[in-house]
Symmetry: C2
Subunit: 505 residues, 2 copies
């Protein structure tokens, strides 16, 4: 059988990392820029991010948070206040040292106006927001303080990949302060729950939830919780983290409150964030060899209408028919917004246009030619089915069933991703089986193979480091909930519960 033609070359099987780069490029999501490590997010990618923002922002507000905005720059002395924190970020931060450019000896411009204290472009904002919290919080009446910020951050990454790892990225960072450890910990869990709900309901992406081992914790955190998703190369992607910071930052920055007993106490704080990395997760969770597949809840457009006027004697009638159809769709509510519709009237070949929307992952494509118009019907293709599967549907029937169809697609994407994860998750009880799971069969490319492995684990950091070194596999999370105690296959020591191992982005 001849290899079927795909819109993306190479395919996922042929070369997954290169497939990813090509999908991002050909779906017009983003591109590299002349600034090392910084990306340009193109309109289609920006629109996906805006839809993610809107969904998340609604959930943050529904859980009592308010948005604020804090300075881009962090004085060096702030970063230095929390020892682990600065240790974690000092190695990769953009440092502002001057505040103007002036003509240099060779005529070009050189930095001038040296700052007394260097400023770091925020890699995260615990310290600058903590400083504000120390001023805003006076008594227990001011608690809990629940703040979120939408912002850009910079971490000077050497090896970058669009959306997954870039020097500058967009994100939200939640920062909260509480009167007690229990309340702060409960909030850390609550926000992880928000992320899980967002991943599963909006992104149609099933996630595991759990806590990180010590080595994978956020610098300065007491505990880091995470959501982890499986990509189609069976690697794990950390899609969001929620940190219980204990009193580490509160003590470093003097965030105190007067209790109802009149005592001065340190607050307990949390922070949590998701970023444009979620776009990378969405691409690798659902995309196929024809491009990305947008979950309907996040799609920049739900429906694209392609007027096929080629041999028609009345092209204007077809255009009008399509525009009217678009208007009838746009008034339909869909999960708190309305259906978004594109009518592609560009003067391009129909095939070229069609494939462009396939690659961009629009859930529903409609072709309308003279015969469709006469029959008052549309020729419909669903992005979750092969590109050539098209069916004729009566206009009225289409209009009355479209939101249900989209909901089915949303659920279908989730179900498919969940089935994939389950098919590539193994419960493993011996080191030999574990090594075999994560080693590619001879002659087969690597990845894909393996996936998630659930084993007992004694928690020894040396073992974890050795496995990471030898197999490139790490503990992605220690799942929540009860489990039977058992024996660690690596050390033979007792283990309280199973952990999830995987290769990871």
């Amino acid at each position: 059988m001849a290899k079927p033609k795909t819109a993306i070359t190479p395919t996922r099987d042929e070369n997954y990392p290169e497939w990813y780069q090509q999908v991002v490029r050909r779906a017009d999501l983003a591109e590299t820029s002349p600034v090392r490590g910084c990306m340009v997010i193109k309109p289609w990618g920006c629109s996906l991010w805006e839809n993610m923002q809107q969904g998340l922002d609604g959930m943050f507000k529904a859980t009592g948070h308010r948005n604020a905005y804090f300075p881009l720059f962090i004085p060096k002395r702030f970063l230095e206040k929390e020892a682990e924190h600065v240790e974690g970020f000092a190695k990769e931060c953009a440092v502002v040292t001057h505040h103007r450019l002036e003509a240099g000896p060779d005529g070009g411009l050189v930095p001038a106006g040296e700052l007394e204290e260097p400023l770091v472009v925020r890699p995260t904002s615990e310290t600058i927001i903590g400083d504000a919290f120390s001023r805003w919080i006076e008594s227990y009446r001011d608690l809990p303080l629940l703040i979120n910020q939408w912002a850009n951050v910079v971490r000077w990454e050497m090896r970058t990949r669009l959306f997954l790892r870039t020097a500058e990225f967009l994100w939200q960072e939640g920062h909260t302060a509480h009167a007690t450890a229990d309340e702060a910990m409960a909030h850390t869990h609550k926000m992880l729950g928000v992320y899980q709900e967002f991943a599963e309901r909006f992104m149609a992406m099933p996630v595991l939830t759990g806590s990180k081992t010590a080595g994978e914790r956020f610098p300065g955190a007491v505990e880091t919780l995470c959501i982890e998703a499986m990509m189609q190369d069976r690697k794990a992607l950390q899609a969001g983290t929620s940190h219980f910071l204990g009193q580490n930052f509160a003590k470093a920055q003097d965030i105190t409150y007067q209790s109802d007993q009149g005592q001065l106490e340190h607050c307990w704080t949390t922070s949590w964030g998701v970023s444009t990395r979620l776009i990378g997760a969405m691409i690798m969770c659902h995309g196929d060899d024809d491009g990305i597949i947008c979950p309907p809840r996040l799609a920049p457009a739900h429906v694209v209408i392609l007027p096929i006027t080629g041999r028609s004697e009345t092209p204007e009638a077809i255009h009008n028919y399509c525009r009217k159809l678009a208007d009838d769709l746009r008034v339909q509510p869909y999960h708190g917004r309305h259906l978004e519709v594109e009518v592609d009237e560009r003067d391009l070949r129909g095939g070229e246009k069609n494939w462009q929307w396939v690659r961009r992952g629009v859930p529903i494509r409609l072709e309308v030619g003279p015969r469709d118009m006469e029959a008052d019907s549309v020729f419909m293709a669903r992005r979750d089915r092969p590109a050539k599967d098209k069916v004729s549907v009566g206009r009225t029937e289409f209009l009355s069933s479209i939101t249900q169809t989209l909901d089915e697609m949303q659920q279908g994407l989730f179900d498919r991703a969940l089935a994939f994860r389950e098919a590539h998750t193994a419960v493993i009880d011996s080191e030999e089986a574990f090594r075999e799971w994560f080693t590619a069969p001879k002659g087969e490319p690597t990845p894909p193979h393996g996936g998630f492995a659930l084993t007992h684990f004694c928690g020894d950091e040396g073992i974890e480091a050795k496995i990471a070194d030898e197999l490139g596999v790490t503990v992605r999370c220690v799942p929540f909930g009860d489990d039977e105690p058992g024996t660690c296959p690596f050390s033979g020591k007792p283990s309280p519960k199973r952990v999830v191992w995987a290769k990871a982005y």
Copy 2:
């Protein structure tokens, strides 16, 4: 008569600049941060900005623009490409020179990893976006290219004032490319029209529109158009600008397209922006001695409900009554969103709560005590009337008239601001009268006095500089439209039309 008590000290008359600082602080809009010149935008201020963003973003999308996101950093060589542009921004930009911190000789951290080429934190993005345009545009079919970016920018200002002039601020910057000069110029005007409509309809702030004189143009622009509003100290505030860039940036950055004739041509570009400065404009256009007044179209909350449970035997019944009222309000549509309602159940004195909402400018405040509940009515105060003017309104009547009341308030704020501007605008024909207009009467504080002066003007830059130097007054704009030619009162030379002079922020 005793001086009436005001929520803000000093009053506008006593000390306008200090009144402004106090209003910003006491309305909880923003505060200075430990980072020189950078502000913290607090939740109430952030919410105002989000509402502005939402209004503007809808208008940008309705005029065919799409959002994208470009790097925060601009390589030095990019900035240098357009001579006037770099001249305008080099003096005040944050320069990143290193990409990590490491332990220095005295144990503290010092910048390390020096960059081969310094990066400038974007003061504006013409050059970095122009670089993308030069890649994105190939033929006339790609034009016009209509892009907008929501972002933070940094201009190293030495003398800062919250919202009005800060080192970092939030803004949007539109960037478009066109095939012809006429089309680009028409687009420059169109976007100024969008700004005017936004200022007048959303902010209830009347603006003059016109073009800037050469000295006030954006660095690198051929023509700068602007909207100018009068503040209550009679000074002008430039609230938005729209630039026709000609082919200056296209030539500097090689932004070309192939015409339908097959010729390679340079594009014509525009850029336009508004920023968080609009919040400062809103404050100074409408605020009074009790705090800010939010135009209903931008208000973070339209209605605040204060349950008065002081002497009640059934506080829970009152709270429930208030919550039910809030729910009934929240389902009401209001200009594309729904009514936003706060129920303030905090355990604070009623007077303290009430004044807090007055200072924050919520359009409608409702008090509900036992007797109101019994009578099924609310005790209502409007923020555009004195704080003590409260009327009892039946619940049903209130619910059915609230959106109309808000619309009346919105119009009332506009009308009041327009009347103020008209009362303080003079048509002047002699230099003597001009100097008198802009000079405070003896013994009177300065400002307020004067306002806008419309005079003929020959356009001589030396005269403009001399007047700026002596009186602190500049040409704010050359209004659009036809006018009678006349004689310049400063030079005696012919003048094509009148211009608008004022002191300015």
